[in-house]
Amino acid sequence: MIYLQLFLEFFHIGLFSFGGGYATIPFLYHIAETREWYTAQQLTDMIAVSSITPGPVGVNVATFAGYTTSGILGSVIATASVVLPSLIIVIIVSKLLEQFKHNEYVKSIIYCLKPAGCGLLAAVGVNMFISGFNLIGLVLFLILFAMSLKKKHDPLVYLGISAAAGLIIYLINPNM
């Protein structure tokens, strides 16, 4: 039954993708290979499109796969399934944290997890920087960076300016 299959596949992704960001992508390609819900090409398109649609790519692909295979109900099931493991796990962890927040060991673990989390985030940033590197990109990055030094703007300001700059650069030179 298609609804059960959608639930199982996306619950699996929600439960096992680890480290955030693009950790879901290998799982999503695996689905493209083993199921007939979407092709690898559609997934590649979807990942690109999800950078200008709201929401994390995992949620976007779940909605898309559910919708193309079995309409609105399928898309609701797939989307809910991908966040359900998070909902269960994070609520349990939150309750435990409340109970043990004055425990010295819990405090020490969080003390060490914070810089580790920062290190993981920095690694994601550096990898993204290297993978998309070119001269115009660097100039745009530096301009936006300089703007942030003067005053902290709303995130939408950076995204809006960078999207408009991308469009203008494309119109000037379509082969960029």
Binding site: M46, S75, P85, V90, S108, I110, C112, G119, I169
Partner: protein
């Protein structure tokens, strides 16, 4: 602003709508919407939830929304927060699903993708800066940051392993600290 379920839903619907360019962008958006504009959580809490969200399975944007929602209004708050965060993404894909292929073939869209990618980099950099201020407070925490960064960026070691190592480090650190305490030093 009052932390009613309706206001939590509205706030997370806005966070979800602004969440362009991938899950990590939720960090600078939450800093702007929940820390600065609404004052519902502080940067220290956001930093803690970010570290925990990366340490648990699941999409980071989902985990972070649920942590904050739970903090604001317990289990119901968590459910409302994740629902609000996901809803804009859901509606948008339902609308776009039929024209996805036509959309991707419009070449000028590629220019926008490329531009947004750069904007996302700046946002991630800004988020790292805030998280850094709250997490790297001394030589020991800098050491953890540096090791995790190197292992993840250069050696491509799985985040799961690095998180487990950080947890073990926390336990060992506390064992050493509690042994020292009887002698009068912290």
């Amino acid at each position: 602003m009052e932390k009613s379920l309706y206001n939590i839903f509205k706030a997370f619907f806005k966070v979800g709508t602004l969440l362009l360019g991938g899950g990590y962008v939720i960090l600078p958006i939450m800093q702007c919407e929940l820390v600065e504009k609404r004052g519902w959580i502080d940067n220290d809490e956001l930093c803690e939830y970010t570290a925990l969200s990366q340490s648990l399975p699941g999409l980071i944007a989902a985990n972070l929304s649920i942590f904050v929602g739970y903090k604001l209004k317990r289990t119901l708050g968590a459910i409302v927060a994740i629902f609000g965060m996901v809803l804009p993404a859901f509606l948008c894909i339902i609308i776009l699903a039929k024209i996805l292929e036509e959309l991707i073939n419009l070449r000028f869209i590629q220019g926008i993708f490329w531009g947004v990618g750069i904007g996302v980099l700046v946002l991630i950099y800004l988020a790292i800066k805030e998280i850094w201020n709250k997490s790297v407070t001394g030589r020991f925490t800098f050491f953890i940051f540096f090791i995790v960064f190197l292992c993840s960026a250069c050696l491509k070691i799985s985040p799961a392993i690095l998180v487990i190592l950080a947890i073990l480090t926390g336990i060992v650190r506390q064992i050493i600290l509690s042994r020292k305490k009887p002698e009068g030093s912290e």
